[in-house]
């Protein structure tokens, strides 16, 4: 315990270095704006801005990105409430009650509730994070190649098991991401592999950013162009007045929502830890439970303050939660952390248990900066509420070309090869077309990041086990993770059989 506190103190020293502090503030502000823009969330912000972080040292870079992540979680609520369009998928649940409140002229109440709940969720989850991370990292120290591979399989299995109704498309998305990550030179034999049409640009492999910016930058913007076309080019705004007196009254009313906020924080944190689950399901679950434990469930959907507080606490808590497996095990809990993980690899930091011993500065600096980011995000958020309202009035046709320019340059910067910009455009367009057909794309991005880690783990395991898959079941940790992965993967099959068995008697009756 004392050790953790002294490490944390060291972390705060890192977080309060002038450069890092500045990065936290800039990151939070940028994140708030990105999160507030309809269609763009933390994934998009982190994916598009990652190439810019090569300028600062790794610790500063991750602090900056984590601040964007945090800020975006706060910001997502703003367009959910003001425009009725979720700023990010994580803020979908916030529209249910936030939008009705805004329509009743109480947008300031909803915005304050969202900001305070986010702060509570963030704080509780960072505390949990501080005390859970070191023990987990300790367990992970005994992990070898088979355990690593089993964990990655578990990450993919959660996507298959929990992912939407079309399982085949989820599996397809995972596999295509993994295959794309295999393009380039074979890591073991050094031979060129999957060099399509003998184009030399494929020799250096496909950078995960090319796929990430393609899908979350270009693809997402094309999607928003379509949404904007359907909305007739104008999104509706709502009026809100902000006065000190009203704010105090709002805060007093919020005290009554403490149960919803606490529940949302804990639930969000633990859902966030699960790979593939993340902040979106976390916030939706929190909304559902808040409604069930509420004394007035009828008010939900018509402007219940609990309905705004619970999901907002949950999505912030989940964003911290998803960083836990990323740092300790090297398994990202969400698409955003997958991109952060990819960034860490570029900066030369190997995520996983050793990170805690070899780069303690980095880890504790990040944890401390989460506390700092949380504080600044709530202050900036409340202070900037009137500014956000003004920026959201900025037409989409001005924001869009600026974001496109960032995408084009962002796709070029990591490899300095125009070949990758072409690939990015292709991924963007194909991703847009696939998304319209309900293909889930987040698994592909997760897969392209994990691919280069999963393949050597599998090949080494098989080598240790002399070509037999039994190796995965002969070691206690790997066997239990493997079993969990297989159960999760076949969950949909069990469900299908169960549903059929339930249907049969009915069919016999009919």
């Amino acid at each position: 315990m004392m050790e953790i506190i002294s490490l944390l103190a060291g972390g705060f020293a890192v977080a309060f270095e002038p450069l890092n502090l500045m990065l936290v503030i800039i990151g939070c502000t940028l994140g708030l704006f990105i999160g507030a823009m309809p269609g763009l969330g933390s994934v998009n912000g982190v994916a598009i801005l990652l190439p810019l972080t090569f300028l600062v040292p790794p610790t500063g870079a991750i602090i900056f990105l984590a601040a964007i992540y945090y800020g975006a979680m706060y910001g997502g609520a703003i367009s959910s409430i003001m425009l009725g369009i979720p700023g990010a998928s994580t803020a979908v649940a916030t529209t249910f009650d936030g939008r009705p409140l805004a329509k009743q002229g109480m947008a300031d109440k909803a915005l304050t509730a969202a900001a305070v709940a986010s702060f509570v969720g963030g704080t509780i989850s960072v505390l949990l994070f501080t005390f859970f991370a070191p023990p987990l990292a300790h367990v992970a120290l005994v992990f070898g190649a088979p355990e690593e591979f089993a964990l990655m399989l578990l990450a993919f299995a959660t996507f298959v098991g929990l992912g939407g109704d079309d399982i085949w498309k989820t599996i397809f998305s995972i596999c295509i991401g993994l295959v794309l990550s295999a393009v380039g030179l074979d890591i073991i034999s050094g031979e060129p592999r999957l060099i399509f049409a003998d184009i030399t640009g494929f020799m250096h492999g496909i950078n995960f950013l090319v796929l990430a910016i393609g899908i979350y930058g270009i693809g997402e913007m094309l999607w928003t162009v379509e949404e904007n076309h359907k909305a007739g080019g104008r999104s509706m705004l709502s009026e809100a007045t902000v006065t000190v007196k009203r704010t105090i009254a709002n805060l007093r009313e919020l005290l009554g929502a403490w149960k919803a906020m606490a529940m949302g924080s804990f639930l969000g944190y633990f859902v966030g830890i699960l790979p593939a689950a993340g902040a979106t399901p976390g916030s939706l679950m929190a909304y559902g439970i808040a409604k069930q434990i509420s004394k007035e469930p009828d008010k939900f959907g018509e402007g219940a303050i609990d309905g705004v507080a619970a999901p907002e606490a949950a999505n912030n808590a989940a964003s911290t939660g998803s960083m836990l497996p990323m740092l300790t095990l090297g398994i990202p809990g969400s698409p955003t952390t997958a991109i952060l993980l990819g960034g860490m690899v570029i900066w030369g930091l190997e995520p996983g248990p050793l990170l805690f011993t070899q780069h303690a500065d980095f880890v504790w600096g990040l944890i401390a900066s989460l506390y700092v980011a949380n504080f600044f995000a709530v202050v900036i958020n409340v202070a900037f509420i009137p500014v956000f309202i003004a920026v959201l009035k900025m037409p989409f046709t001005i924001l869009a070309p600026i974001i496109f320019v960032l995408c084009l340059i962002g796709g070029y910067a990591p490899t300095k090869d125009l070949h990758d910009v072409w690939l990015m455009i292709i991924f963007g367009i194909v991703g847009y077309l696939m998304r319209k057909l309900d293909y889930p794309l987040a698994p592909a991005v997760l897969a392209i990041v994990l691919g280069p880690l999963a393949e050597p783990a599998l090949r080494q395991s098989l080598l240790i086990g002399d070509g037999s898959f039994n190796i995965f079941f002969s070691r206690p940790y790997s066997a239990s993770i493997m079993t969990a992965a297989l159960v999760l993967m076949f969950l949909p099959v069990f469900k299908l059989i169960y549903d059929k068995m339930k249907k049969k008697p009915q069919a016999a009756e009919g």
């Binding site: 810019l52 300028l55 999957l194 320019v405 070029y412 367009i429 080494q460 070509g467």
Partner: protein, 167 residues
């Protein structure tokens, strides 16, 4: 084209792509190499095989009309949307093509001008202003601060007098 038709086209395209990936992976050994473990083609080959399997599943669902998209007879991309999205995607492709020829600083102003003036129907002062400001900021940020040189094509020589001002 209906959503159902689009679903079929996508599934068939991806089936062909999966088979191609399997064929391409098999250029490297896909079996066991004594002392080295699985060959270089092992991993992508079997993944592509799973892709093929899932395409089979998607096609099966299509025949049975099991998923929402497989049953939907709605228009895949409406005419108006196609026009908008197509214009944006097309202008991006032309912009990247121009990167090769007249470079980033030739292509970006043209792209911005096109988007702001003709897609966004904003006034000339705003369009021209942003079409100049954004590439200048890009230059200062990427080339000067981050030292990432962006492609310049035939405009390369025009930049020679500018560099000494900063370095």
């Amino acid at each position: 084209m209906t959503v159902r038709m689009a679903e079929l086209c996508m599934a068939v395209t991806m089936t062909i792509f999966s088979v191609y990936l399997m064929y391409k992976s098999a250029e490297l050994p896909i079996g066991w190499i004594e002392g080295e473990g699985p060959g270089g083609g092992f991993w992508p080959f079997w993944l592509a095989a799973v892709m093929l399997l899932s395409c089979g599943g998607i096609l099966f669902n299509w025949v049975k009309r099991k998923t929402a998209v497989a049953a939907s007879e709605e228009t895949y991309i409406e005419r108006g949307v196609m026009w908008d999205v197509g214009l944006v995607a097309g202008s991006l492709i032309i912009t990247v093509a121009l990167f090769h020829w007249i470079g980033v600083y030739g292509a970006l102003p043209l792209f911005l001008l096109f988007y702001l003036k003709f897609m966004g129907r904003h006034g000339w002062p705003l369009s021209v202003g942003l079409a100049i400001t954004i590439p200048v900021v890009t230059f200062l940020f990427f080339e000067i601060m981050l030292k990432i040189t962006l492609p310049k094509g035939i405009t390369e020589e025009l930049f020679y007098p500018i560099y000494p001002l900063f370095f």
